[in-house]
Amino acid sequence: MKVIVPVKRVIDYNDKVRVKADQVGVDLANVKMSMNPFDEIGVEEAVRLREKGKATEVIAVSIGPQQAQETIRTALAMGADRGILVKVDGDVEPLAVAKILKAICEAEQPGLVILGKQAIDDDSNQTGQMLAALLGWPQATFAHTLEMGDGSAKVEREIDGGLQTVEIKLPAIVTTDLRLNEPRYASLPNIMKAKKKPIDEKSPADYGVDVAPRLKVLKVAEPPKRQAGVKVKTAAELIDKLKNEAGVI
């Protein structure tokens, strides 16, 4: 069984995000770019499946600029077998990403696609679900644990009230939540090995997908700032302020 893991290049989660002065977007110059952390969890899960003999090949796919190749290399260094880079400059909306991934799935016939539940740049939380719908496949989003069965998978999902278990028929879509696993660090020998693994370069036109945005971004602004308040000296004073000044208890 092949497993496809889509990976997105985003501003590193440790870097500070700055809104551009002209309010057209955020500043992408002079920031560190990394793999979306939820996608890293997806790559780790796929590689573990192959190590356990449940998967035969792990294919990392990225849709983005030429530099997204580095993100694919990171996945290859973690243990993915080969990569596909679909080159696009500018923002691609989740629906267009899902359409490209659908075409790739039709060509590669994977048993499982493991995506991050959301990318930490646009926070959309859509692509996996959209891909599942376009393919007519079942989905298990926000995965906490994943257990492969015979022609099916049992997935524990993180939901608002706790955990929910679903069983989905393969082929299927899984999206990762934080606690599915702890991604490994790539070792130096594996980083060197990854340089020799193949990456196919494609364009959206190869898949017949129009990636023009459908939503118009009118503005990107800073959120309202909160001011730091006062320091109190004792627990009793804190209770007093909450009761008599703020009136919230």
């Binding site: 859509q126 959209m130 376009l134 049992k154 804190l238």
Partner: protein, 313 residues
């Protein structure tokens, strides 16, 4: 044409998230209908019919909707989509699960987690964990929207809408609900509580959360946690407040032993009043707190409890 709101409920109670999503839908200017998909959910439909601004409640009452499985919800919503200009769901784990499927099948983009309706086709939504706010305009055509409920004030219970049954749209058979492990608590839910007290890594263990429980009991508060506390295994995942957990905006948020990582702030910085207890004077949480107490929480929290008892809480 009208707007359709997908109700959030547990087959017995209509969740507050629905009333807030109705409030968002009302701002689109068109009549608002609510779809209650569930099993044995007549009481929920009744409650939805009383929300101000709701003109009609559609009920799909069938065992296949008992758990709002995404694949069956997709089929049901699509069977009704033709009559609506806009379809809205709260950005709960349910809404996030089924709505993008609907959008993809209708070949329209989804607008996720709107914070405000600027005009009927223009919305504000957070990106980068709320470090930037994007204003987006939808193209003409159907709009699929999820609503960040902290951005809207719940519609009140003054309405009297008609209730109409709709047919189930069938089961796909590709996905099956197996079981659920829900946290049991007598306390209010995190997303609708007026007061929340949350613990972080500074709590040091799950057992120590009982210190927070005692305060929560006195204030009728919900108990939450930072990602660090959940990752450390102190409390279950459904306690997590933050960018990837629950987004909350209570009247009062008390952060205990939480440093204030960006991803935690993203989930609580719209709270009306924030109080923080932390022994590290430099902790970023103090930059957003209205009231900060630099102290050892293991001394300060029992003192707060004592003071509350003294005041008759």
């Amino acid at each position: 044409m009208a707007s359709l709101v997908i109700a959030e409920h547990d087959n017995r109670n209509l969740k507050d998230a629905t009333a807030k999503t109705v409030a968002a839908a009302t701002q689109l200017g068109a009549p608002v209908h609510v779809l209650v998909a569930g099993n044995d959910c007549g009481g929920v439909a009744e409650a939805a019919s009383k929300l101000a601004g709701v003109e009609k409640v559609l009920v799909a009452d069938d065992a296949i909707y008992a758990r709002m499985v995404a694949e069956t919800m997709e089929a049901l919503i699509l069977s009704l989509a033709g009559s609506y200009d806009a379809i809205l769901a709260p950005a709960t784990t349910n809404g996030k699960n089924y709505m993008p499927r609907v959008a993809a099948k209708l070949d329209v983009p989804q607008i996720s987690e709107i914070l405000a309706v600027v005009s009927p086709d223009t919305f504000n939504r957070p990106i980068y964990a709320g470090n930037a706010i994007q204003t987006v305009q939808a193209a003409p055509g159907k709009k699929i929207i999820t609503v960040r409920t902290t951005g809207f004030k719940a519609a009140e219970g003054a309405g009297s809408a008609q209730i109409e049954k709709v047919a189930a749209a069938g089961d796909t058979g590709i996905s099956k609900f197996v079981g659920e492990e829900l946290s049991k608590s007598e306390r209010p839910e995190l997303t609708s509580a007026k007061i929340i007290i949350s613990g972080g890594r500074g709590m040091q263990s799950g057992d120590n959360f009982h210190l927070l429980d005692k305060i929560a009991d006195k204030l009728h508060a919900a108990v939450g946690a930072s990602r660090a506390a959940v990752d450390a295994g102190f409390v279950p995942n459904d306690y997590q407040v933050g960018q990837t957990g629950k987004v909350v905006a209570p009247e009062l948020y008390i952060a205990v032993g939480i440093s204030g990582a960006i991803q935690h702030l993203a989930g609580m910085k719209d709270s009306k009043v924030i109080a923080a207890v932390n022994k590290d004077e430099e902790a970023p949480i103090f930059q957003v707190a209205d009231y900060g107490l630099v102290a050892d929480l293991f001394k300060a929290i029992p003192e707060m409890e004592e003071e509350l008892t003294r005041l008759g809480y």
